[in-house]
């Protein structure tokens, strides 16, 4: 049984309520930080812990915090990114639904460390029920004097406000989120200036993911060194992985970083293997944006080593044979899944969600989508496959924000590893057209043999 560090309290009945959370040791780490530690102490522990951003980029949290401009007279802000929209990712939702006070405690400790008096939780608008849960928890925290003026008599004051999104994937990008908080369209900003200097209302701002901010609580509890002792190398601590797709036990799991991918997919403790006794075809391990890998490469690296659930191991081999841990949105495909249709589906998503600011992304996604569609429908040409690679290549790296990369990688990786499926669609239009996979996104295994 893996060790639970972040969500160890999750099974306690009624843990959503302040009284129950408090009775089980909740808010004691906030108390410890505010009463026994200086903000510099908290920063030091977070840096020591090796915690990396859990939203997808994996940037070291302590380092991000150290960039915050503490010299200006302007107010500083902390924005909690709860806009979870990356396809395949539903871990933050799980955390907020069950442990809203853990997030609030993390926000208190983090705000104290950063010298922040106002914090916003930007929750995607579709999570209206979670906004309700958080609002109730915030009210309780205010009543119990863990929020508001002069918290616990320490002189530290903090307000936390909820802000709803309006249904736009791009607002999960930190500068788009700041634009959206200012009441504008979610168009990402050019960097620099980075939010640490000019963020919300041009004031120094830190934007962190829900899971990252919640992880600060156990880090203060056990100390940075102890947290760092969990995991492998630069992948320290635990990570929430949301597993979905063709597996027996979809759900959110807390894993110690370093767990072999094979164990995660096939052990009863986690995904429980592939549904209906089928074989594993492919995995997208970090949300739709990261490269897809075929079964043989997700289980073992090209060097033949067991692939581990760490930032480094999943990236081993670069994009030729590796991928990314990303957000931890772990999507599993069985042998019948059609990778062409999946790629078209994801590209349709990116076309829909592109903010339209940069031409390569706006035009590129709108160009790739119909090309993928016609290949998928058996109306494509061989040259379409290379055309897709070409377009993806021209989007990647040429946009203001990482959305362009996120739209390009699923296409280039699918063609890199599953080119034979794209070619099959071009070569056998009669089979593709006559196979009723349209409503299921899958082929009956018997009707098509790819290899």
């Amino acid at each position: 049984m893996g060790r639970l560090v972040l969500i160890e309290k999750i099974a306690i009945p009624g843990i959503r309520d302040f009284a129950v959370y408090r009775a089980h040791g909740g808010y004691s780490n906030a108390e410890k930080a505010l009463k026994e530690m200086t903000p510099a102490d908290v920063n030091r522990e977070v840096t020591k812990s090796g915690l990396r951003g859990r939203g997808g980029a994996g940037f070291p949290t302590g380092l991000k915090w150290s960039f915050l401009d503490r010299k200006t007279d302007h107010p500083r802000y902390l924005v909690c990114n709860a806009d979870e929209s990356e396809p395949g990712t539903f871990k933050d939702r799980y955390l907020m639904e069950h442990l809203p006070h853990l997030l609030i405690e993390g926000l208190i400790i983090s705000s104290y460390a950063l010298g922040v008096k106002t914090c916003y939780i930007y929750v995607r608008g579709e999570f209206k029920h979670i906004i309700g849960i958080l609002q109730k928890a915030l009210r309780e925290a205010y009543q119990q004097k863990f929020l508001g003026e002069n918290i616990l008599g320490t002189g530290f004051s903090l307000d936390i406000f909820l802000h709803p999104g309006g249904g736009a994937y791009i607002c999960g990008e930190e500068t788009a989120m700041l634009e959206s908080l200012e009441g504008k369209r979610g168009n990402p900003r050019n960097k620099p200036p980075f939010p640490a200097f000019k963020g919300l209302y041009d004031c120094p701002t830190v934007v962190n993911n829900v899971e990252t901010l919640a992880a600060v609580v156990p880090i203060i509890g056990m100390g940075g060194d102890a947290y760092k002792s969990i995991g492998v190398g630069k992948s320290t601590g635990t990570k929430l992985i949301s597993a979905c797709g063709n597996i027996n036990k979809p759900g959110v799991y807390e894993i110690e970083l370093g767990l072999p991918v094979e164990d995660f997919i096939f052990s009863e403790e986690y995904c429980g293997g592939i549904k209906d006794g089928k074989r594993l075809k492919a995995v997208v391990p970090g949300g739709s944006s990261v490269p897809v890998l075929p079964a043989e490469l997700i289980l073992r690296t090209l060097k033949g080593e067991r692939r581990l659930m760490t930032y480094e191991s999943l990236a081993e081999g670069g994009f030729d044979s590796g991928t990314m841990l990303g957000s931890g949105g772990f999507i599993v495909y069985d042998e019948d899944a059609c990778m062409v249709r999946n790629t078209w589906n994801f590209t349709r998503f990116y076309r829909h969600e592109s903010c339209g600011q940069c031409s390569p992304c706006r035009e590129g996604t709108a160009w790739m989508e119909p090309v993928l569609r016609r290949i998928e429908q058996g109306k494509g040409k061989y040259s379409d496959i290379d055309l897709l690679v070409n377009i993806a290549d021209k989007i990647e790296g040429n946009t203001i924000c990482p959305f362009g990369d996120a739209a390009a990688w699923p296409v280039s990786s699918a063609i890199r590893h599953f080119r034979h499926e794209f070619e099959f669609h071009v070569e056998h239009p009669e089979i593709v057209k006559n196979t009723d996979h349209g409503s299921l996104m899958r082929y009956p295994a018997s009707s098509i043999q790819y290899r």
Binding site: P87, G166, R185, F346
Partner: protein, 190 residues
């Protein structure tokens, strides 16, 4: 903050567009969440409230009204309302059904759920039933991939959908008929 929000009326389509006094009071409080009277920041929460309480969609009148409340230009409201997918710019049914179409739902049968709904409701995706009860739409990833396929009715999630469950849900909603859906008010959430 430069005084309280003005209470202005817009009467273009022979309809009075205005929030209740109680909702206005809530909006005045929400505006205070944003430092230094940055009331434009309240635009997204106020648009959610407006859509729910002023007719189910954001007409030009409603958007102009919101602009006046927040003391911003109407174009600043239009450009935001058209950017975010949760806002309806034209009339919709009492129950807006949105089916997730993104990868994780699709590989678990999300597309078949949409086909079934089209059949049951007798409309195509994007249309509203003639009785004005249902609008059928697609939506992108709702963060329910572990309980796929998922759909939303207005803002409520329905997870691990099957054809049988859909039939039951549609029946229930039809029986409720023209009664107002009992939903959490956006105005009560902040």
């Amino acid at each position: 903050m430069s005084g309280l929000i003005d209470h202005k009326l817009f009467i273009k389509e022979n309809k009075i567009v205005k929030f209740s006094e109680e909702t206005l009071e809530r909006i005045r409080e929400i505006v205070l969440h944003y430092h230094g009277d940055r009331r434009k920041s309240a635009l997204l929460p106020v648009l959610h409230i407006a859509q729910q309480e002023l007719g189910g969609y954001l007409s030009v009148d409603v958007m102009d009204y919101v602009a006046s409340l927040l003391e911003i230009q109407p174009i600043e409201v239009y450009e935001v309302a058209t950017f975010y997918s949760m806002f309806h710019l034209g009339p919709v049914g009492k129950y807006v059904i949105e089916v997730c179409q993104t990868g994780p739902c699709a590989i678990c049968g999300g597309e078949r759920i949409l086909d079934h709904l089209e059949k049951v409701l007798g409309i195509k995706t994007g249309e509203t039933t003639p009785d004005g009860l249902f609008t059928l739409k697609t939506v992108e990833c709702l963060g329910s991939c572990g309980t796929a396929p998922v759909m939303q009715v207005n803002t409520e999630f329905y997870e691990s959908m099957t054809a049988e469950k859909i039939d039951q849900i549609i029946d229930d909603l039809k029986n409720k008929g023209n009664k107002q859906p009992s939903e959490t008010r956006w105005a009560d959430l902040f």
